[in-house]
């Protein structure tokens, strides 16, 4: 039963059983600015969150930056060829060090140098050097040079962020001691994705859109296809939706869409004759198209409670697209725009305050999982 804000309907926690009445996350969690603030810690500060693609930083010292909630990090390739992440914050007095550098336009450096007083760091985060004024006390008449403490490189290095990967996909976790390993959070998705040659594909396109709804509104839309028949007519024409399946796992769910007509094996990166869309809690997707030899990823980054940025990246064999691939990307963009219309409209309704708690249908078990995970995170 739908619960209205009419003074007598009562909302409940998201039920574990989808057939129960309170099976959806109360509407307030989509519209309340305090929830947005809370999610910075309880969601984005706790789970493994996608940072970017390792192919973009192949050489020692290559780097990009990424902002997750209020946290800003540097993701770089160290001397040993490993990928590491650090807060983009100087160990001296906390300055932001590097300018924002998107993964699509990565930078390169041999040391990370803070522009404020020129403390410099090795690629493993250790303090490499400080200017002379930090080694002697010539301006301070009360202090002898001998009394100046020497700075231990490791003790005065950058703050490192936990990092782990699934193939070339790099994830970070901001907990000191993460509750889950990435392997635990990803479960079978890790093995499935690592069996594919994701690293052999090149980044070809990034489209970033700002959409006027809560990030979870879009996540919910991505996760179900009850809206497809009515709203993605061009796309569903080629699909056998009745034969499709939505598979739910601990922290990810997979939308398997069957095609009416089989396509050549060369047209897919994966084996199965279907499109496979992975949603990975909290805000990342991997899109295996089934009709293009490539894959895509979405990052669904909140800006505030009522807006998010969709960062859509496309990977193909070659970063120069064929005409067919161009057309494919355009179809994918069309789907995005159709969905933006839907979710902005849904959000306008939610924001009006009439609805207290929605109700989910039996084939919205993926959305149910999303709502359950959100609630679990808030309660933790």
């Amino acid at each position: 039963m739908t619960r209205w804000n009419d003074g007598h309907d009562e909302i409940g926690a998201v039920s574990a059983d989808i057939t129960e009445e309170t099976n959806a996350l109360p509407a307030q969690y989509f519209t309340d600015p305090d929830v947005h603030e809370m999610e910075k810690e309880k969601v984005f500060g706790r789970y493994w969150v996608y940072a970017g693609h390792a192919n973009r930083i192949p050489e020692r010292g290559d780097y990009f930056t990424r902002t997750i909630g209020d946290r800003q990090i540097i993701v770089t390739r160290d001397d040993e060829g490993g990928v590491r992440a650090f807060y983009n914050v100087c160990a001296h007095r906390g300055s932001k060090m590097l300018d924002d550098t998107p993964m699509t336009d990565p930078g390169s450096l041999s040391r990370i140098t803070c522009p404020y007083h020129l403390w410099a760091y090795e690629l493993d985060g250790d303090l490499a050097s400080t200017p002379k004024s930090f080694e002697e006390a010539s301006l301070n008449p009360d202090l002898d040079d001998d009394a100046v403490r020497e700075l231990d490189p490791a003790e005065n290095g950058l703050m490192e962020v936990n990092l782990d990967s699934i193939g070339p996909l790099v994830f970070v976790n901001f907990q000191d001691d993460p509750d889950l390993t990435l392997a635990e959070q990803a479960g079978s998705m890790k093995d499935e994705l690592e069996a594919l040659p994701l690293g052999e594909y090149e980044h070809a396109r990034r489209y970033v859109s700002e959409v006027e709804c809560n990030w979870k509104t879009f996540s919910g839309n991505y996760s179900e296809c009850d809206h497809c028949q009515a709203n993605h007519q061009d796309w569903v024409r080629g699909l056998e939706l009745m034969e499709s399946e939505l598979e739910v796992n601990d922290y990810h769910w997979i939308l398997h869409y069957q095609h009416k007509e089989d396509v050549d094996d060369e047209m897919r990166i994966h084996e199965e004759h279907e499109a496979k869309f992975y949603y990975f809690w909290p805000n990342f997707t991997v899109n295996m198209y089934g009709t293009a030899d490539g894959y895509g990823t979405y990052i669904i980054d909140p800006i505030d409670e009522g807006r998010f940025q969709l960062v859509a990246d496309y990977y193909f064999r070659d970063s120069e697209l064929t005409d067919e691939e161009e057309k494919f990307v355009q179809t994918s963009r069309q789907l995005q725009e159709e969905d933006f219309e839907l979710v902005e409209r849904q959000y306008e309704g939610l924001r009006s305050g009439a609805l207290a708690q929605a109700q989910l249908g039996p084939n919205e078990h993926t959305v149910h999982k999303l709502h359950r995970l959100a609630q679990e995170a808030y309660e933790a």
Binding site: T65, T67, D100, P102, T104, D105, R206, Y207, V208, S209, E210, V211, E212, I303, Q309, V311, R333, E337, F340, E344, E348
Partner: protein, 121 residues
């Protein structure tokens, strides 16, 4: 993409990114600046004004002169959104205006009485 619910409010104009092919309605001029920065930090792309509803009627493409001209109308500081929109009518991009503003600020020629609002010294 952009909400049309506040259609009654006068819009400042629309902005676009040619690479991402979006067009967004801007109501508060400085929202364009915020959006420019957010978009640039994840893409490196430059957003441009594509239409503006402010009839600034500048006769210069010099950023400092334009700021000087607009200062009378905005004694608490000219919003960077207004300045970039006015200059876009003179074919100066948002990027070029913001770069020039940075240089002017670093030269001490302008000041910022409120965040993202500037005036000539």
């Amino acid at each position: 993409m952009a909400s049309t619910t506040d259609a009654e409010r006068p819009h400042a104009g629309t902005i676009t990114c040619a690479t991402c092919d979006f067009h967004a309605v801007i109501t508060e001029p400085n929202d364009a600046i915020e959006r420019y920065r957010r978009h640039r930090s994840v893409t490196g792309h430059d957003i441009k004004w594509e239409r503006t509803a402010l009839d600034a009627g500048l006769d210069t493409d010099d950023v400092e002169s334009a700021l000087d001209a607009l200062g009378d109308e905005y004694p608490d500081g000219v919003p960077l959104g207004v300045l970039t929109a006015a200059l876009s009518e003179q074919e100066v991009t948002i990027e070029a205006t913001l770069d020039a503003i940075y240089d002017l600020r670093m030269a001490g020629a302008i000041y910022e009485p409120r965040d993202d609002h500037v005036l000539v010294v």
